[in-house]
Symmetry: C2
Subunit: 427 residues, 2 copies
Amino acid sequence: MNDKTALLARRERLLGKNMSTFYLDPVHLVKAEGVWLWDADGKRYLDCYNNVPHVGHCHPRVVEAICKQASMLNTHTRYLHEGILDYVEKLTATFHESLDTAILTCTGSEANDIALRMAQAVTGKTGVIATDRTYHGNTAAVSQLSTRMPPVGGYGGHVRHVPAPDGYRPLGGEPGEAFTNAWAQAIEEAIASLQASPHGFSALIIDPFFANEGFPELPDGFLKKAADLVRKAGGLLICDEVQPGFGRTGTHMWGHQRAGIVPDVVTLGKPMGNGHPIGGVVASSDTLNAFRKAFRYFNTFGGNPVSCAAASAVLDVLTDELLMENARVVGEYARDGLSRLAEKHDLIGNVRGSGLFFGAELVLDQKTREPATNLATTVINEMRQRGVLMGKLGIHQNATKIRPPMPFSQDNADLMLQTLDDVLAGL
Amino acid sequence: MNDKTALLARRERLLGKNMSTFYLDPVHLVKAEGVWLWDADGKRYLDCYNNVPHVGHCHPRVVEAICKQASMLNTHTRYLHEGILDYVEKLTATFHESLDTAILTCTGSEANDIALRMAQAVTGKTGVIATDRTYHGNTAAVSQLSTRMPPVGGYGGHVRHVPAPDGYRPLGGEPGEAFTNAWAQAIEEAIASLQASPHGFSALIIDPFFANEGFPELPDGFLKKAADLVRKAGGLLICDEVQPGFGRTGTHMWGHQRAGIVPDVVTLGKPMGNGHPIGGVVASSDTLNAFRKAFRYFNTFGGNPVSCAAASAVLDVLTDELLMENARVVGEYARDGLSRLAEKHDLIGNVRGSGLFFGAELVLDQKTREPATNLATTVINEMRQRGVLMGKLGIHQNATKIRPPMPFSQDNADLMLQTLDDVLAGL
């Protein structure tokens, strides 16, 4: 039994079965810095996957902020502390003026769990619309949004799913306005269905970048029409910014700004503290007060001084190191590189994304666009063997998921592209 | 407008209304060490309240563990890492051999949210029994256990409440076995009611120390009878160890061990990482595997290397500094002191607790035991003015809540007792 087999056996004994790992040959990590990861054998990997270490693995300014505050004071928000106020002020300054208050949590799941209840508090209804390929977190309430697995006790009946938008295979068969209208009609029907049910309609919850759905390229104003329908029906628009937020898409700080809409509630998670467990909900004071009045809420760890220090350092580094601009420039460069690879390799059907969240959809046939789901698995495993870590996602699980730490450089992109070229050539 | 008024106004503007603070004159904290806290004016407070900084505020070994790991690697459990395995091995070694696997989360709320689904996965049912004065966390699903506030959309109908056990005013009017039987009968009726409903019976969830219920003194074997009924009905016993766990009660590492029962699922939170956001669920591998099979589950931040390093340091300090033994010795000393105060002050109706979780129930009349709820508020506010921080809790919100960091010393206890004596004398 080699070391890794022993480690996997120990993992199953202590953490249970069915605990997923990445790759056929899981990676055993021991060290990280910037965009690099090292395994127990000293092998180095280029990180093209992890959005959690947003400003780079182990960024010294974030580590220092954590250490300094952890040695000074770490307590809860029933005492007064300026750390949370300074952070929320800095955070909300990056949003539309209507989104001016926040609740801090420890995870994006907790944030979405609150967001759903905010919509309930404002509307008095409980029905929710989400896409049929979405994922918003792991609490019992939030899991009800996923179609992956029917929960014990069944679904609550209060969720309506609309088709995940797919710009490559547009709903109704036509791109542009016809696609926008077809999707808006699906929203309209879902609203009507909820209004006809005992649940009523409280909210549409979406990732405005539709990351898990495969970050589709969508017509201009695509979400505007849906947002208008939601408001007209008295519902709230919840934007889950866990993936597109904090400047990742390169052009805007938030995915909803890129999509040209203003949500009622925004949820935050993964990249917020560079790996330190912090999430949050941003909303108008009216919405937030309605939630607190209807549900009360206290989160022992949420908004503690250390978490706020970590999150504050992330915002500062993002600004000082011009990382959103880097995401835009390097993202464009890398997508151009992928498009050149598409000319050589028939497997690449569609290159898309924004900033440092992008990838290629792999297809068996350029005309039929038949998804190359199994080959996508082969590709990411081959990449891993060659020292480049990426994932896959999308409606057909056939799109490469390239979502590196934000200091990802053109040299890093070149290494990723060269390796992908080699892997595709060797298939 | 003085500084604190301005700070409170800023807080309401950024964090919303109805966000609770402790004390009529909230404390603005800036620094902490061991059992001491300092406010912005340099005033020092003895911390008799906070269980989160379990091994003492800003304990250097915990801070060092966090800093060291945060500068080395912080990523998720889809890669292999030994930190989580070393920690879970060390943690589960403190439990009965049947409780040998764990899922790590970021909060106790997330842990209880999982625990309820574990019971669903094992039993295929969804009905739950809890006490009518309990609190197990803030997710939408877990909030359904609380009686505090009817949620928008109403209760799910799957929760049955039994009276919070009160050794000072025993159910049925008689102490001892009659009380044990009366409470067991309430459990039996709740089980029968759930079995007769579409929900069925999945679990009894309790804090085995009944901290929020007022940490009542209970007859020997009190929980054994209830646990037997739960098992007989095919349900799971979930013990929420967020408050009594990690040696706080002085005599046992876990509250359920003190109560002489072995639960099916144990949930952990607050003190686990000394303030770093970490929680967890400990169960048998069969129970844990059933959950993973029925629901899948992945928590991005849960079990990350930094969280595990913090939690591991907490366990080490607990052992090396003999803090459980300290809790036993100092807790007994402090309760003896409270009992002496009870001879002087008629307001003290009952002194109880275990280790470093104890307090006095304040009553208006020793015979009728009429709760002195408002006076309890006055007492804790007076204590705060004199530099001693404590809280209140219980069925009637009239018991002082004394639950300091575990390095609390006899000298600290003397200061608390002397201050309380002065406050009670001055009422």
